[in-house]
Subunit: 397 residues, 2 copies
């Protein structure tokens, strides 16, 4: 792991405990889980065990509510399209601050003739529940909301939103990619019909995720073919990845007992330390319910890109928001929806912490950051034009 | 690896050389390739390198013709739906012997109002090119054909089929999942618009594949979201998996110089050895162009399931056909299309060989198999009912 990694919302390292569980399936247990001989059955048993562990993390009622997918984005695409296909209705209610994997599906669906209604948030990033209630119509197929925002960490009131959906007999989809493994989930007896999760956000491998589909909920597959996942997601299973997802689920479920409180303490320490050193800092969603691991800061008179380059040079890794939005030069739609000016949005840097973040690292980060911000504000920062040039040269953009 | 694995068409072990390349990306190089700091850029460089190696295996003209997917099934779904979406036309031409990942997409599309025309094969499994030519209409959106059959190993004349497609301005999709890594591919200057590949069929990891899309060909994504894969396939990239695909591509491309000839020799030896010992054996597609690694045998008076159980008890692993069709009690649609009776179809066992198969193993297999077949024919075999009961008990079915 890198010495100063503060971008756990972008991705997490694979926990060594998780990799250890995956290893036999990367070597001797290589059978196709659909094969009926011993080697195949061993792989099949591993899938069942992983399904059980994942169902437990989600607090699902039944292991078969878990469909393994290639990740959160596929899960989001599948859930929304499935809800539309089953309901036959034309309207999607979602928020103005969703991740691109919901936002761009919605954009695509708009082109296909569907009506997309975006529910707003306040300056703290909190969902306007009243607006949601009023937007529901008899043409609403699905309400699709994130559980926790990937940029700000603000947590949405999914229980209340779910009640609105259930009162009206509307499908309810929750994008829990940033929430799973950070806050406990209890899907049994909830109003959630579909829920998306990605393993690499909680110390599991990249390339594997979950679509939870509540028992009895109608379903239409996105990917057809073989009868894997009870005909709901075709394709030879990513056995090592799924085993890793299961192991990560089991591991993080134990961590959820103590780790959120530890992270919350680091978050408070970090934000307090920054404020005691520099002025003109705003913590996004400070008065909202927030993930304990995310500190999203806006700095007066600072361009985030310049600050991030300076941090990168010191091997301190943070980001301006969503990794899935990088390459885009537009201000974050999340911050715009919260009423930020373009200038304020362009100053935002997200620090997200995790299992391997120590108090010492947090103190170091606060010191370096304060020093850099003061330095940049005194007019010694390079223009952010350097940033684009540099990555264009390396062929990233 | 298992001592007697003869089911390389179902899946292959991960080559140790490939796993070695993946390991840094399962541990310290865990960055999100969309992140702009050093850790992310290292992951991004690895993707570019893997893209280059994969493009080379396919003989592609441009690295950007490679889209990384979660596997062959996703690639097949994406290619066919993309061709329909771009062309706006209503007919799909495919063969009667496709893999379920094309066959069931076609079945789903039929329900959605598309016209599916299946081109037949002869008793050797060879495509009826004349029928294909005649079936083309001005409503044909796409011709979708496999390069090599997963059950019999019979190779289709994709070059000729491609000419028909190009003469008529029709999209041409090739499912090369069973061909890639077994026979050379030269996509540059070919008529192929879309081509599907799966890494785990040639010693790469499960859960990763390729959709080749020829430069200039229209494209509509199946999975929307972030801007990964130039907006053609959203979702955080499965970095270790993609690195493994690249490493497997590089490794198998070298192997393609000598390995097909070695496998061809084993295939001939095996089939000759069987025939010298038992009568009433038919080699499917014997007079057709076939993959060098596949021997698909039909046995008079034998039920494949009974034979496979007896083999499994000796830790000899083979299959009755497609792993993706297992669980189905219906006779293989491939063999039915070749004109086999239900009884003949139910007697078929596929042996597929690979890099780690030795001549000694082949000799052992031929001996064991001959002994077992003779034994079963003498009336000492158990009913295949035991098979279903046994797996139902283990919860596989």
């Amino acid at each position: 792991m890198s010495p100063y990694y503060f971008d756990y919302n972008a991705t997490t390292p694979l926990a060594p405990e998780v990799l250890r569980e995956m290893e036999p399936y990367l070597t001797r247990h290589f059978g196709n889980p659909s094969s009926f001989y011993q080697l195949g059955r061993a792989a099949n048993r591993a899938l069942r065990q992983a399904r059980k562990l994942t169902a437990s993390l989600l607090g699902a009622a039944d292991d078969n509510e878990i469909i393994f997918t290639s990740g959160g984005t596929e899960s989001n695409n599948t859930a929304i399209r499935s809800a539309l296909s089953i309901s036959g209705k034309k309207q999607i209610l979602t928020s103005a601050v969703e991740h691109s994997s919901v936002r761009n599906v919605a954009g695509q669906l708009r082109k296909e003739g569907y009506q997309i209604t975006e529910i707003g948030v306040d300056a703290q990033g909190r969902l306007n529940l009243e607006q949601l209630r009023e937007a529901v119509s008899d043409q609403t197929a699905v309400i699709s909301l994130m559980m926790a925002n990937n940029e700000t960490g603000v947590i949405f009131p999914v229980e209340e939103a779910g009640k609105i959906a259930k009162e009206k007999g509307i499908f309810f989809h929750v994008d829990a990619v940033q929430a799973a493994g950070k806050i406990p989930l209890h899907l049994k007896d909830s109003a959630v019909d579909f829920l998306s999760v990605s393993a690499h956000k909680f110390y599991g491998p990249k390339g594997v995720g979950v679509l939870y589909v509540k028992k009895g909920t109608g379903f239409s597959p996105l990917i057809s073919g073989g009868s894997q996942e009870r005909g709901r997601r075709a394709g030879t299973e990513n056995v090592p990845g799924i085993v890793g997802l299961g192991a990560a689920s089991e591991w993080i479920q134990k961590e959820l007992r103590e780790e959120p409180a530890r992270l919350k303490k680091l978050q408070v320490e970090f934000e307090t330390a920054i404020r005691s050193r520099v002025s003109g800092v705003t913590v996004s969603g400070e008065r909202a319910d927030r993930l304990p691991n995310t500190s999203h800061l806006r700095w007066e008179g600072i361009e985030a890109e310049t600050l991030l380059i300076a941090l990168d040079q010191r091997e301190i890794y943070a980001s301006s928001g969503s990794a899935c939005m990088s390459g885009s030069r537009r201000p974050s739609h999340v911050l715009k929806a919260m009423g930020c000016t373009d200038e304020a949005a362009a100053s935002a840097v997200r620090f997200s912490f995790g299992k391997y973040t120590t108090e010492k690292e947090i103190q170091f980060l606060a010191e370096e950051l304060s020093r850099l911000v003061t330095h940049l504000r005194s007019g010694n920062g390079k223009s952010h034009a350097h940033f684009s040039e540099r990555f264009a040269k390396e062929g990233v953009l």
